[in-house]
């Protein structure tokens, strides 16, 4: 059975290691924070200028001066720090952020990502996405395997304007966990009950299936 968005977040949370500094994008990536494994401490970076992001505030505790990169009111954890946007992207650019989780509209088999612009639609801008994908050493994409029309989002080549080149390391969809390797998308895990055949049929880019592909443990 295909994962729901919470399960996708839960699976991505297994990529976390103790002490990781993590940047979570808007959408499914944000949910990852809810599934941090026990015994593991991660510190969330918000690129508008905060390390040590905490949960959303309780009613009445919101502060207009304290928001995340999605402009939502948030809180801080003990040990947090604030900084300006240049330092924020400085630490991203110098590879200090251990893991970046992003949504995407398309990923190509060489790790290109498209997630900022759809021709013909109003372009809202790339925000920090281009900086993140150009610099992060470990990028995991959270997305659906296909678009609403049923077309694969794991492609030989991105059709949409790209956000960054050769940067994605892993992809977690409702169907599978895949890794970008030299030859394309390497299938690492299947969602419980999902067949390799279904994943093959929904993956346009080169899919590498080696041996038995285990089911995800979530």
């Amino acid at each position: 059975m295909a994962l729901d968005k919470f399960q996708i977040a839960q699976r991505i949370a297994k990529e976390l290691k103790d002490g990781y500094y993590v940047n979570l994008g808007i959408g499914i990536p944000t949910l990852v924070a809810n599934y941090v494994p026990e015994g593991i401490n991660v510190i969330l970076q918000s690129e508008n200028g905060l390390l040590g992001m905490g949960p959303f505030p309780k009613e009445g505790k919101q502060d207009a001066d304290l928001i995340n990169a999605g402009k939502q009111t948030i809180t801080t954890i003990p040990g947090s720090s604030f900084f300006d946007s240049a330092m924020s992207f400085g630490m991203i650019r110098s590879g200090k952020v251990d893991l970046t989780v992003l949504g995407a509209m398309e990923v190509s088999e060489n790790g290109d990502i498209a997630n900022w612009k759809i021709p013909g639609k109003m372009v809202k801008g790339m925000g920090g996405a281009m900086d993140l994908v150009a610099s992060a050493k470990n990028i995991v994409v959270a997305m659906m395997h296909t678009n609403p029309k049923g077309e694969s989002k794991l492609l030989k080549k991105c059709h949409l304007p790209i956000t960054g080149i050769r940067c994605v390391k892993k992809i977690v969809t409702e169907l599978a966990v895949l890794e970008i390797c030299d030859k394309g998308f390497k299938l690492l895990e299947r969602a419980p009950g999902v067949t390799v055949e279904e994943i093959i049929s929904k993956t346009e880019g080169n899919l590498i299936v080696e041996g038995d592909v285990p089911e995800m443990a979530i």
Binding site: N48, I92, K124
Partner: protein, 230 residues
């Protein structure tokens, strides 16, 4: 030399049509509300605004867009603004979208006297079109130029009469970077304190970067996405 101004109207009095402005803030967080209101009141037009976002329809830079005061926006993200979209699609408004880190670093470059910086953001994308690409240690970077703005308009939490500024929480964002980058920097602060009251180790923007300062009034500090825990 007196840097102290009575209010926003006086502090922005010499901003003229066609000026290039930097405006601090991320979304509606840490925006110079008083100066924006004064710019709307003054009705100055044909402005180029460098700001991470363009406000919402009825707040922030959105108020200047309503009055058609903006010729060009240089931003990283301009969603959540119907009037913006209308002007963009009708060709009344020009927009240059640049990556957020590039925006921040081009401000910093100006403040630090660096004419240009190299960043990997946008390599291989349409952002790279027309720009120099250079390889250092096996990785490609784009050459991006320092901004050149007539005025930087920023909002701080506290400030003193010498122009020293302290920001609060994520309202810091682009404010200290733009403060360094303007030919003339105008700072509005929530709390103006006498010189000597701020701890010199806590100051984020040294007064040398600030030419004008005033205590703002009636801060609305609107929240764009109120999100609460249950």
């Amino acid at each position: 030399m007196n840097k102290l101004y009575e209010n926003a109207d006086l502090a922005i009095a010499d901003i003229i049509d066609g000026s290039v402005l930097m405006l601090g803030g991320f979304g509606l967080c840490g925006i110079p509300e008083n100066c924006i209101a004064a710019l709307v009141k003054k009705g100055v037009k044909q402005l180029t605004c460098i700001s991470n976002n363009a406000g919402v329809d009825d707040f922030g830079i959105g108020l200047m867009l309503q009055q058609k005061q903006v010729k060009k926006m240089i931003s990283s993200y301009v969603g959540e603004n119907a009037e913006f979209e209308r002007q963009l699609l009708s060709g009344e408004l020009e927009v240059e979208l640049i990556p957020q880190g590039t925006l921040a670093t081009r401000c910093m470059a100006a403040g630090y006297g660096m004419p240009a910086i190299y960043t990997p953001a946008g390599v291989g994308t349409e952002v790279a079109e027309g720009k120099e690409v250079r390889n250092f240690n096996g990785k490609d970077y784009l050459l991006e130029m320092a901004f050149d703005a007539d005025f930087a308009i920023v909002k701080a939490w506290k400030g003193d009469t010498m122009g020293n500024l302290i920001f609060k929480d994520t309202a810091r964002n682009f404010n200290p970077l733009m403060a360094m980058a303007g030919k003339i920097t105008i700072a509005e602060v929530e709390h103006l304190v006498p010189t000597g009251e701020l701890d010199p180790n806590h100051i984020h923007t040294p007064g040398i970067y600030v030419q004008r300062i005033f205590e703002g009034k009636h801060y609305e500090k609107r929240i764009e996405q109120l999100t609460l825990s249950k």
